[in-house]
């Protein structure tokens, strides 16, 4: 009787001790399958992300080319036509008038050179970010300061990540260029503050100006589409966001948050 009791007890205990590892092995199998699915999903997401980045870069490039085309046609083309016309209309007999026209032609040529430099800067973006986002920002600021119209203060946190992400750098840099172009064209600002900092895996670029500001709600669809929507769209593609604070007469503050690197 005692033997039977012990046998039953041992058989049950052994069965339990066999079922436990069986469940463990089963659990590992299920977990492993989930791990596989997760890896596949991650790879798919990475592919989608890379495709989006490539698409955005293409769009940015396309936009840059459009700007260059329009500038060449509307601005530099006009200036050069005007220069040609001015030079053609010079009457060598009338030295005083000829002098005036040559001066006008020189002025037009200088303006053309300025416009050409502006276009060159636009094309340079890709090469600038190779040496890092901060360096590219510094280069952009140097260029703007040379005009003498703006006082720019640039602060950069010391703890920026050592590893770069060139894809994200280029997009952030293009957003910054867009913002600075808007300041040049519309803000009538004299002071610009640019701050680049890094906190817990997020890169924050903040651009503040003392310009005329605007009311975001009152912007037309076209105005929004060209600038702000583009900025937002580009930031979203690299997993970031853009926050805009502005009021008429109070300047504008634009903050870009990007997960980095």
């Amino acid at each position: 009787m005692v033997d039977k009791d012990i046998s039953g007890l041992i058989i049950i205990t052994t069965l339990i001790f066999l079922i436990a590892p069986a469940f463990l092995v089963l659990y590992i199998f299920i977990y492993n399958r989930r791990k596989k699915r997760h890896i596949e999903e991650k790879a798919q997401m990475q592919l989608t992300f890379e495709a989006e980045i490539a698409k955005t870069q293409y769009e940015v490039q396309e936009q840059t080319m459009q700007t260059i085309g329009a500038d060449l046609h509307d601005n530099i083309g006009q200036l050069l036509s005007l220069t040609s016309l001015t030079l053609n209309s010079i009457e060598l007999d009338n030295r005083l008038k000829a002098r005036e026209k040559v001066d006008a032609a020189i002025d037009l040529t200088v303006r053309s050179i300025k416009e050409m430099r502006l276009l060159g800067k636009l094309l340079q973006g890709d090469q600038l970010v190779v040496s890092g986002l901060s360096e590219a920002i510094r280069h952009e600021i140097n260029w703007m300061e040379r005009s003498g119209k703006y006082k720019i203060k640039y602060t950069r946190a010391e703890d920026l990540p050592a590893a770069n992400n060139p894809d994200k750098d280029l997009i952030v840099f293009r957003i910054l260029q867009e913002i600075l172009n808007n300041i040049i064209k519309h803000a009538h600002a004299s002071r610009i503050y640019i701050n680049l900092e890094y906190n817990e895996g997020t890169l924050k670029l903040e651009i503040t100006d003392n310009g005329i500001g605007f009311n975001a709600d009152e912007l037309t669809d076209d105005q929004r589409g060209m600038g702000l929507q583009n900025m937002r769209k580009r930031a979203v593609i690299i997993g970031g966001e853009v926050a805009i604070k502005s009021n008429p007469g109070e300047g504008t503050q634009i903050s870009i948050f990007i997960p980095y690197p």
């Binding site: 033997d3 012990i6 046998s7 041992i10 058989i11 205990t13 052994t14 001790f17 066999l18 436990a20 590892p21 069986a22 463990l24 092995v25 590992i28 199998f29 977990y31 492993n32 791990k35 596989k36 890896i39």
Partner: protein, 225 residues
């Protein structure tokens, strides 16, 4: 002659045969060592049956075959420990810990030889060995779960080898703990209860191991191709 071919020995010989086909040319020493370990296992099993025959014929002058299995413990401690070092190297530096465990097991073994002699089953060493091997197996599974990379477990030799160990030593815990009581429990006129339990555990262990050796062979072939 037929008495040498029991359920246990057939399972072990089959596993040895699989090991001889799959592992003798393996590039890794630990995996190649498994063939020698299985050979020692089969020799021990045959010797055990032979000594048991002598004991049943002359109980007055011949001792039971426990001493054969006690000698086998020396190899049983060593070979799987080396395999665990090999398997766990991928995830962590487990060598010092496993070598430490190996030293402790041998110390307990020597202690049992001194206190109980060679003819009494070294149950303490076996229990300690089972506990350590179960811990190593669980640690391997933990590393497997923690690892971010995906391994196809269906064809993972290490996974099946460790699973066999876990089933055998964890499943045998109840038998080890109650060994003294169990050795008196007879199920059929011919065999003790432990005989059936160990048969089942051996079947699981050697099935897992055989499959792991086949996977190992596949893996070597695939990576060579």
């Amino acid at each position: 002659m037929s008495r040498y071919f029991t359920f246990n020995t057939i399972v072990e010989l089959t596993c040895l045969l699989v090991a001889s086909i799959c592992l003798t040319k393996d590039s890794n020493r630990a995996w190649r060592g498994m063939f020698w370990f299985l050979l020692i296992t089969c020799v021990t099993e045959m010797t055990g049956i032979y000594v048991k025959g002598l004991y049943l014929a002359d109980r007055a002058h011949v001792r039971p075959n426990s001493w054969v299995y006690n000698i086998f413990i020396i190899f049983e401690i060593c070979f799987p420990s080396l395999m665990f070092i090999k398997i766990l190297t991928k995830y962590a530096n487990s060598k010092p810990t496993i070598l430490c465990g190996l030293a402790i097991m041998y110390l307990v073994y020597v202690y049992e030889v001194i206190t109980d002699g060679i003819f009494k089953k070294h149950n303490l060493t076996i229990t300690l060995m089972a506990v350590l091997f179960v811990l190593y197996s669980l640690y391997y599974f933990y590393c497997l779960l923690k690892d971010e990379s995906y391994i196809n477990l269906k064809y993972s030799p290490a996974f099946w080898w460790v699973s066999g160990i876990l089933f055998y030593y964890f499943g045998g815990t109840a038998c080890n703990i109650f060994y003294n009581k169990l050795s008196t429990v007879i199920v059929t006129p011919k065999h003790y209860l432990t005989y059936y339990i160990y048969n089942a555990l051996n079947l699981i262990l050697y099935s897992c191991w055989s499959y792991s050796f086949i996977c190992r062979k596949w893996l070597t072939k695939t990576s060579a191709a």
